[in-house]
C-alpha cells in the first residue's frame, strides 16, 4: 500500500463570495490527497463552503475587502480544515443548532450552515484569538492492525 501523505496547504483570498468556489476546490483536493473518497471529499467541500460563507456574511458583515485564510492540514490520523479571519468572533457557546424536525415544519429559509458543518465533519470548533478560526476535522479510518 502507498504511504498516506502528510503536509499542509494554505490559501489566502479576499472575503468575496466569488472566491468561495476556489476555496472549496482546495479543500476537496486536500481531502482527496489525504485519501478520502469522492463522497467524503464533497462533504468536506460543503462544510468548508458553509464556514467560508459564514465568515464573509457574518464575521465580516458582507465586506469583500478583508482576507480569509484556509488551511488544510493532512496528518496520519486526519484532515483538519481551518478557516482563519480577523472579523467578528464566533464562540462554541454561540453555536445554536436547529432541531431539524421543527426546522422542516417551520419552512423558514437560512440557519442551516452550522448544522451542515457539524453533520458533515467529525469535529467543529470555533477558536477565538488574535485571529479567529473555525476548525473542522475529518478522521481517517486508521486500521490499527496494519503497518
Amino acid at each position: 500500500m502507498k504511504e498516506l501523505p502528510t503536509g499542509a496547504i494554505q490559501v489566502t483570498f479576499p472575503s468575496d463570495t466569488v472566491y468561495v468556489h476556489m476555496a472549496i476546490t482546495v479543500a476537496s483536493n486536500a481531502a482527496t490527497i489525504a485519501g478520502f473518497d469522492k463522497a467524503i471529499a464533497s462533504k468536506v467541500a460543503l462544510a468548508t463552503d458553509e464556514a467560508v460563507t459564514n465568515v464573509i456574511k457574518h464575521a465580516y458583515d458582507g465586506r469583500n475587502d478583508k482576507l480569509i485564510t484556509l488551511k488544510a492540514e493532512i496528518t496520519p490520523e486526519s484532515l483538519t480544515v481551518k478557516v482563519v479571519h480577523t472579523g467578528k468572533a464566533l464562540t462554541n457557546e454561540d453555536v445554536k443548532l436547529p432541531n431539524m424536525e421543527k426546522y422542516l415544519k417551520a419552512k423558514k429559509p437560512g440557519g442551516l450552515g452550522l448544522y451542515i458543518m457539524k453533520q458533515f465533519m467529525d469535529e467543529v470548533d470555533f477558536l477565538v484569538g488574535k485571529e479567529h478560526c473555525c476548525q473542522m476535522t475529518k478522521y481517517r479510518l486508521v486500521d490499527k492492525s496494519g503497518g
Binding site: V20, L46, K107, P109, Y115, I116, Q119
Partner: protein, 125 residues
C-alpha cells in the same frame, strides 16, 4: 464569471420544468432565486427542477427552496426535483429535505407521476 449558474424554463405537460446548470452557492444564489420568483410571478405553481446539470448546491440554495415551498403549497402546486447527482442528493438527504420535496430519479418519472392525477392528489405527503 466564476463558477456560474444558468437556468432555462420550459412548459412540459402539467409542469414548468427548470433546468439548472452550474453551481448554486452564496455567489450565484440570487440568480437562482430570481429564476424561481419569475416562474411564481406568472402564477406557475407546478414546478419540476431538473438537476441533471446542477453540479453543486449549498445551504443558501436550500434556503431558496424553503422560502418558496409554502407559497407553492398554498396555491395547490408542487415543487418536484429530479436527476440529482450524488453530491446534490447527499445534502438533500442528510438534511431531511427529501421529506419536504419529492425527488425523482429522472424527469420522465416525475412527469409520468402527474399524468391522470387530479390537483388534490399531488400534494406533498
Amino acid at each position: 464569471m466564476a463558477a456560474g449558474l444558468e437556468v432555462h424554463a420550459t412548459q412540459k405537460d402539467e409542469a414548468k420544468v427548470l433546468y439548472i446548470n452550474g453551481f448554486i452557492n452564496a455567489h450565484t444564489v440570487q440568480d437562482f432565486e430570481r429564476s424561481i420568483q419569475s416562474v411564481l410571478s406568472e402564477q406557475n405553481y407546478r414546478i419540476l427542477i431538473n438537476c441533471k446539470d446542477l453540479e453543486y448546491i449549498n445551504s443558501s440554495g436550500l434556503g431558496v427552496l424553503m422560502g418558496v415551498i409554502e407559497e407553492i403549497q398554498d396555491n395547490n402546486g408542487f415543487l418536484y426535483l429530479s436527476d440529482m447527482n450524488d453530491t446534490v442528493f447527499n445534502i438533500f438527504d442528510t438534511l431531511g429535505f427529501t421529506h419536504l420535496f419529492k425527488v425523482f430519479d429522472a424527469e420522465v418519472e416525475a412527469l409520468d407521476s402527474l399524468k391522470g392525477v387530479s390537483d388534490s392528489a399531488v400534494n406533498e405527503d
